[in-house]
């Protein structure tokens, strides 16, 4: 295949993956339990979050394949999963690998969700918090298009959306915690015990 087309495909799918990943993050962050906004279909938002994440994975796969098949630079199949194994742009490609590894972990754990403890699933899902900024670094570190104005604008938009969504989430969690009526009081002290039982301790028919 023509190396140029592969190269364009890699860059394009890379940008699209980043945007889809950003969207996934935002949809996942702007969720909270005990939501009072009863006109908002939370189940639909969750479904959208899932489907966009699948789309992101699809574009990621294409992005990885085209980048490996492109013979202009040598990355190698190993570097797809092993970080910093690529001779070409070892650091920035390596970051991409890390981001991919984290994404795969999140994805697989969600597929196997019914077989995992909820806490395990949640712990792995939080790896997403790592995957996104590393993907961002990979995109702008490689520098292929990162001097284009529209790319910079897109990147800024991504950072702003995730940043704002993250702040929203922090605030929502704090508000929830404040809503619990009188949280656990300290261990109560024992009252003085009744000691007059002796006067009435006998059986009724004694």
């Amino acid at each position: 295949m023509n190396s140029t087309y592969l190269w364009y495909a890699t860059r394009a799918t890379g940008i699209v993956t980043l945007v889809l990943l950003t969207l996934t993050m935002v949809l996942g962050l702007v969720t909270t339990s005990r939501s009072r906004a009863r006109n908002w279909p939370g189940f639909a938002q969750q479904e959208l979050h899932r489907r966009i994440s699948i789309l992101a994975v699809v574009f990621l796969v294409i992005h990885v394949i085209t980048s490996i098949l492109d013979s202009y630079v040598h990355i190698g199949w190993l570097a797809v999963v092993v970080p910093f194994a690529s001779p070409y742009a070892r650091l920035w490609v390596g970051l991409g690998t890390i981001s991919l590894d984290l994404m795969v972990a999140v994805f697989v754990s969600s597929l196997l969700r019914s077989h995992l403890q909820p806490r395990t699933w949640r712990g792995i899902h939080w790896l997403a918090y790592g995957s996104w900024p590393i993907a961002l670094a990979h995109t702008f570190g490689l520098g292929t298009d990162s001097s284009e104005h529209w790319v910079i604008a897109l990147g800024t938009l991504c950072v702003l959306s995730v940043g704002l969504a993250f702040l929203w989430r922090l605030r929502a969690t704090a508000k929830l915690r404040a809503m619990v009526p009188n949280p656990d009081p300290p261990a109560v002290r024992q009252s003085r015990s009744v000691s007059t039982a002796g006067a009435l301790g006998g059986p009724r028919d004694a």
Partner: protein, 426 residues
């Protein structure tokens, strides 16, 4: 060796209180334990039959037939743990503390019998932090009987936190297992509680004391007391507006008022609280009701934990109920939404009514909230609270009608006649 077949000793009267407390006299009075040599199925079957024939039910609040609970435990397998529930989280109850201070060997014997029956390999006695007099008494008793003839299994004492919910069966086992005193959701009550992978059988202090006597004397003396459908005796703590609060031992089926009279109530009495703070108020028209499961259920109450609190005429039933509701709300484990948010809301509603600050909506809101809370928690805590409040709304209806229109009774500011571990504000 006592079994169901032997006739009980002539003239033997079943009772828990009044027996000697130290080991020597205890053995003189009741004979030896005799389980070490008896790990044979004849003896075990004999004891199961005895328990079944006796009609013993749990004295920890559930009134569940002990023999059925035992069958489930036997099916759960061996090498389990017998848990002696001496938590007595109910503030108005003193019977378990009393038993363990006065006749600890009866209780511990009961645990040993059960352990031999279930082939358990561990006995754990749960005494809350703060109940130090009880812990001392039990430690002393355990030291007295530390011989395999008297105690084939070592009797461990543990100190869970002193919270109302900590004595709930699944919360207690959870604490022993994981250190977290939180009730566990059990959709199927037939599946056994577990500590690790081993089954755990939890029994109330008083139930075990009865069991120890039934194991030695057969079911006869127990059946000879109480009433036909509900034999035996119960320990009841009577408190409130009485001259002599304390613990009494009465036949099951004794009328409520006869039990209350033993503590010399300050008359006139406007209501009795039966079964504990998660129980129900009973008005004067029902004071003759026998203290037994079915008769109480018919009037909307339950035997619950052996507690009767007397409310005199110079107390405000609504305010006392508001205090109880506040206490129960504070004691929620805060795991389940309906309890965590619903109980404090109900307590707020009652407090508002007690202060005469209800709005036109208060009663309707209260009824709606009560209607939504039953059965939606992992344990029975919210259910008990709902039962208590509903009974208050019925028994103190006239007074509440006045309060809800801003006409508070003269007694709503009186100090409480109830016991709480810490002052409860309304």
């Amino acid at each position: 060796m006592p079994s169901a077949d032997l006739a009980p000793p002539v003239g033997k009267v079943h009772r828990l209180l009044g027996h000697p407390g130290n080991l020597t006299e205890h053995l003189d009075a009741h004979g030896p334990l005799n389980v070490a040599v008896s790990r044979n199925s004849t003896w075990q079957q004999g004891l199961v039959t005895s328990l079944e024939a006796s009609g013993l039910t749990g004295r920890g609040g559930g009134s569940f037939p002990t023999s059925i609970k035992l069958e489930l435990a036997l099916a759960a397998g061996s090498r389990g743990t017998i848990v002696v529930n001496a938590m007595e989280g109910e503030p108005a109850s003193e019977k378990d503390k009393l038993l363990l201070c006065r006749v600890p060997h009866l209780v511990l014997d009961g645990a040993q019998y059960l352990a031999a029956l279930c082939r358990a390999d561990r006995i754990v006695v749960c005494i809350p932090i703060g109940h130090d007099a009880v812990a001392t008494a039990v430690r002393h008793a355990v030291a007295e009987r530390s011989d395999h003839r008297h105690a084939p299994l070592a009797e461990e004492i543990v100190r869970p936190p002193d919270r109302f919910i900590a004595g709930e069966e699944s919360a207690l086992v959870n604490w022993i297992d994981t250190g977290r005193s939180l009730p566990v959701f059990r959709p199927d009550k037939g599946t056994p509680l577990r500590i690790g992978r081993r089954p755990a059988l939890v029994h109330n202090t008083e139930t075990l004391a009865h069991l120890a006597l039934i194991a030695r004397d057969g079911p006869g003396p127990f059946r000879n007391r109480g009433m036909t459908g509900e034999p035996g005796t119960s320990l009841i703590t009577v408190s409130g507006d009485v001259a002599h609060p304390g613990v009494v031992e009465v036949d099951r089926g004794t009328p409520l008022w006869d039990i209350a009279k033993l503590s010399h109530p300050v008359e006139p009495v406007q209501a009795l609280l039966v079964g504990g703070y998660g129980g129900a108020w009973v008005g004067p028209e029902h004071f003759a009701t026998p203290y037994a499961t079915s008769p109480l259920r018919r009037i909307g109450a339950a035997a619950g934990v052996g507690v009767i609190v007397v409310l005199g005429a110079s107390s405000c039933g609504l305010t006392e109920s508001a205090r109880i509701a506040r206490y129960l709300a504070d004691q929620s484990a805060r795991q389940c939404g309906p309890c965590m948010y619903g109980l404090p809301a109900v307590a707020d509603d009652l407090a508002q009514l007690a202060r005469g600050q209800g709005d036109g909506d208060s009663m309707a809101r209260l009824h709606r909230r009560l209607g939504q809370m039953m059965g939606r928690g992992a344990c029975r805590h919210p259910d008990g609270a709902v039962g208590l409040v509903r009974s208050a709304l019925a028994v103190f209806a006239t007074d509440i009608a006045g309060h809800s229109q801003g006409r508070t009774c003269p007694f709503w500011r009186s100090p409480t006649s109830l016991r709480f571990p810490r002052a409860v504000e309304v």
